[in-house]
C-alpha cells in the first residue's frame, strides 16, 4: 500500500512548487480523462503540481464537496472545479473564498445566482454549457431529417443535472420543427451496455425509427451495436451522441454514428491551468472564457480540426 501512496502522491514530489487541484465529476468518463490530460500537459510545462481528484460516482455531489473541503484543509493554491451539482457546491465555494483559495469553474457552470446571493465568487468560468450542445444536436437532426421523423432519446442517469440540460437543449433544438416527434425517451444511465439493451428494446417497438439522440457517446456507441444486432443498416438510423469520445469519432469515420458534440475537454483543461497560473502570479483573468462548442459529423471530419485526439 505504501508503494501506491508514493506512486499516487503527487504532492510530495516537488514540495516547492504551488499546487493546483483539478476536481472533476468522475475520472472514469473519457471526457474528464481528456480534461485531465490537457491540464497535465500545461501543468508540467508551467512547473505546477496538479492534483486530480474526483468522487467514485459522478452523481455523488456530497463526496465532491468533501474532497474540496479536504483540499481547502490542505491549502492548495487554486481549485479547478467541474461541479457534480451546480447549486450544491455553492456552500463549499464560500468556504474556499473564506480560505482565500481561488475557484476556477470548468465545463458545467456553477449556479451563479445562488452564489452571488450568498456573496460568493469564482475567479473565472471556462467551458461551454451542456444545454447549448443539446440544442446543436437537435438542430442537426432537424436538418438531417428534413424537419420530420421519429426520434428516440437515450437519457443519462435520471435526475442527473448534466443529463437534464443536454436533454432540455435537445428538445428545444427540435422544438422548431413540429414534424419531428419524440416517440420514446428512456434512461440508459450513461452506460454502454444499457445503451445497447435499451435501444435494442426500443427498436423492437419502434422499427420505423429515424434517429436517436444519446446524452453521451457511450450510450450512442451501445446503440450502434444494437442497430447492427438488429440487422438494420447504420444508414437507416441517425445516431447522435455527446462528448466527442475518441471512439465516437472513429465510429463516425466508419459511418456508424452520424454526429457527436465536441465540448473540447482537452482545451478546457489546458485553459483552466493556464488561468490558474496567471492568478497565482498576480495576473488578472477574464470573467468568462467560452470554449467553442462544435458538432462533429462526417463532413466536418474531412477537414479535420478536432482538438481531441
Amino acid at each position: 500500500i505504501l508503494l501506491m501512496f508514493s506512486s499516487g502522491c503527487n504532492s510530495q514530489k516537488f514540495p516547492g512548487k504551488p499546487t493546483v487541484a483539478l476536481v472533476v465529476k468522475t475520472l472514469n468518463n473519457p471526457f474528464f480523462n481528456d480534461m485531465e490530460e490537457g491540464a497535465l500537459q500545461v501543468a508540467d510545462s508551467l512547473e505546477l503540481n496538479l492534483l486530480v481528484q474526483a468522487a467514485e460516482r459522478e452523481v455523488d455531489v456530497e463526496k465532491q464537496v468533501q474532497i474540496i473541503e479536504n483540499l481547502i484543509q490542505r491549502r492548495v493554491d487554486a481549485i479547478l472545479l467541474t461541479p457534480s451539482g451546480s447549486s450544491e457546491v455553492v456552500p463549499v465555494i464560500l468556504k474556499a473564498n473564506n480560505a482565500g483559495i481561488p475557484i476556477i469553474n470548468l465545463d458545467t457552470k456553477i449556479n451563479m445566482d445562488l452564489l452571488k446571493s450568498d456573496g460568493g465568487q469564482i475567479a473565472t468560468y471556462i467551458g461551454s454549457d451542456n444545454y447549448e450542445g443539446g440544442r446543436l444536436a437537435g438542430r442537426y437532426l432537424v436538418e438531417q431529417l428534413g424537419g420530420k421523423g421519429k426520434v428516440a432519446i437515450l437519457e443519462g442517469i435520471p435526475g442527473h443535472e448534466t443529463a437534464d440540460s443536454r436533454q432540455k437543449g435537445f428538445l428545444d433544438g427540435i422544438a422548431e420543427a413540429p414534424g419531428i416527434q419524440v416517440v420514446t425517451s428512456q434512461p440508459a444511465n450513461w452506460e454502454r451496455n444499457m445503451g445497447y439493451t435499451v435501444f435494442q428494446n426500443i427498436l423492437q417497438s419502434h422499427s420505423d425509427l429515424n434517429a436517436v439522440f444519446a446524452a453521451n457517446d457511450l450510450m450512442a456507441l451501445g446503440a450502434v451495436e444494437a442497430i447492427a444486432a438488429s440487422g438494420k443498416n447504420y444508414s437507416d438510423i441517425i445516431v447522435v451522441g455527446f462528448d466527442a469520445h475518441s471512439e465516437a469519432i472513429a465510429s463516425i469515420r466508419n459511418g456508424e454514428m452520424d454526429a457527436t458534440i465536441a465540448q473540447n475537454p482537452v482545451q478546457i483543461g489546458r485553459m483552466g491551468v493556464l488561468q490558474a497560473y496567471k492568478l497565482l502570479n498576480g495576473g488578472s483573468v477574464p470573467e468568462e472564457i467560452t470554449v467553442q462548442i462544435k458538432l462533429i459529423a462526417k463532413e466536418s471530419l474531412t477537414n479535420n480540426n478536432i482538438a481531441t485526439d
Binding site: P187, R192, N193, T197, Q204
Partner: protein, 320 residues
C-alpha cells in the same frame, strides 16, 4: 406418502416464481404487440444472459450462506485485462483464459479472506468490489478498450441454429450448474455448509477448500460474463458491471434461494434472471417514464417474492 406430499409442495413452490414470470409476460403481451415475438423473446434471453451467468455463481455462494458483492467489479477487471490481451495480439482462446484466471483469482482471494481470514463474506467481497474496480480503472487509466475482430465478437453476435451464442452459453452453464448442485459432492456440500456449517465441519468436510472453490467459481463466471459483454459491445470498460451484484442477488433470491443459506435451486435462479430481463425489456417496449420504471421494478421484485414466500409458507412452519 409424506415424501409425496413434500414433492407436491415443492412443485407449487417452484411454480410460485414461474407463475410470476408468466404473469409478467402476459401483462406485457397485452400492453405491447411487440413483446410476444420470436425476435423480442430472443432479445430478452440474450440480454438476460449476462446477469443469468453471474447469478449462477451467486446462487452457489448464497446457498453457502455467503454473498458476493464483487461480481460486477470483477467482471470489469477481468474484462479489461482480457481485452488488453486481445489488443496485444494474443490468440482469442489465450486471452479468454487470461481473463478467466483474473476472475478466478479475485474469487479465490475472496475465498481465502473468508476462510482463512475469517471475514464475513459481505465485508471480504465489499472490499474486493472496491479493489477490483480501482484495479481495473488504474490498469486502463479509466479508458475503455475497443475494437476486436469478428472471431471474438461471434461470441456475442453469432447465432447457432438461429439461437444467439450468449443464450447457448447461458443454457450450457445452467445445465452444468444444475448437475453439479444436485448430483455431485461439491453441490451437496454447498448446501451442507450453508445449512449448518458446524455440522459440516464435524462431519470432516474440508469447508475451507469448498468455499474457496465456490468463490473462485463465482469469479470465473463473472469473467465469462465479461467475455459476452465485451464481445457484445465490442469494447471492454473499467466501469462495466456497476450494480450487477444487486441484479444477480435479486435474481437468485427471486428464484427462491434463501439468504440464510442451505436452500435454493439453479432452475429458480434462471427464472429470477428472466423475470428481471423481461421486466426491463417490457418497460422499454411500453415506454414507461424513467422515474416510474424504478418504482415498478422495485414493486415487482417485492411482489414476486411476496407471492413466492407465501406459497412457501404453506409448505411448513418456517424453520429458524
Amino acid at each position: 406418502m409424506k415424501l409425496f406430499e413434500k414433492i407436491e409442495f415443492d412443485q407449487i413452490r417452484r411454480y410460485g416464481t414461474v407463475i410470476g414470470l408468466v404473469g409478467l409476460c402476459l401483462f406485457f403481451t397485452l400492453l405491447s404487440e411487440h413483446f410476444l415475438t420470436i425476435s423480442n423473446l430472443m432479445n430478452v434471453a440474450q440480454q438476460s444472459a449476462i446477469i443469468a451467468v453471474i447469478s449462477v455463481g451467486m446462487t452457489f455462494v448464497i446457498i453457502t450462506a455467503g454473498i458476493d458483492l464483487s461480481v460486477g467489479s470483477v467482471l470489469a477487471f477481468s474484462g479489461v485485462v482480457m481485452a488488453s490481451a486481445l489488443e496485444g495480439g494474443l490468440p482469442i482462446p489465450v486471452a479468454i483464459v487470461i481473463g478467466f484466471l483474473v476472475g478466478f483469482g479475485c474469487g479465490a482471494v475472496n475465498g481465502l479472506l473468508i476462510t482463512y481470514g475469517n471475514l464475513p463474506p459481505f465485508i471480504a467481497t465489499l472490499g474486493m468490489m472496491s479493489i477490483a474496480r480501482g484495479a481495473g480503472l488504474w490498469y486502463t487509466d479509466g479508458r475503455s478498450i475497443s475494437g476486436f475482430d469478428d472471431g471474438f465478437r461471434f461470441l456475442a453476435t453469432g447465432e447457432i441454429f438461429h439461437i444467439p451464442v450468449p443464450v447457448i452459453i447461458m443454457i450450457v452453464i445452467y445445465v452444468i450448474a444444475h448437475f453439479v448442485l444436485t448430483r455431485t459432492k461439491l453441490g451437496r456440500y454447498t448446501y451442507a455448509i450453508g445449512g449448518n456449517e458446524e455440522a459440516a465441519i464435524l462431519s470432516g468436510i474440508n469447508i475451507n477448500f469448498y468455499k474457496n472453490v465456490i468463490y473462485g467459481i463465482a469469479g470465473l463466471l463473472s469473467a465469462l460474463a465479461a467475455v459476452i459483454l465485451t464481445a457484445r459491445l465490442n469494447s471492454a470498460q473499467p466501469i462495466a458491471g456497476i450494480m450487477y451484484e444487486l441484479d444477480a442477488i435479486a435474481a437468485t433470491v427471486i428464484g427462491g434461494t434463501s439468504l440464510m443459506g442451505g436452500e435454493g435451486t439453479i432452475f429458480g435462479t434462471l427464472i429470477g434472471a428472466l423475470i428481471i430481463g423481461v421486466l426491463r425489456n417490457g418497460l422499454n417496449l411500453i415506454g414507461v417514464s424513467s422515474f416510474i420504471q424504478q418504482i415498478v421494478i422495485g414493486s415487482v421484485i417485492i411482489g414476486a417474492i411476496l407471492l413466492d414466500t407465501n406459497l412457501k409458507k404453506m409448505k411448513t412452519r418456517s424453520k429458524r
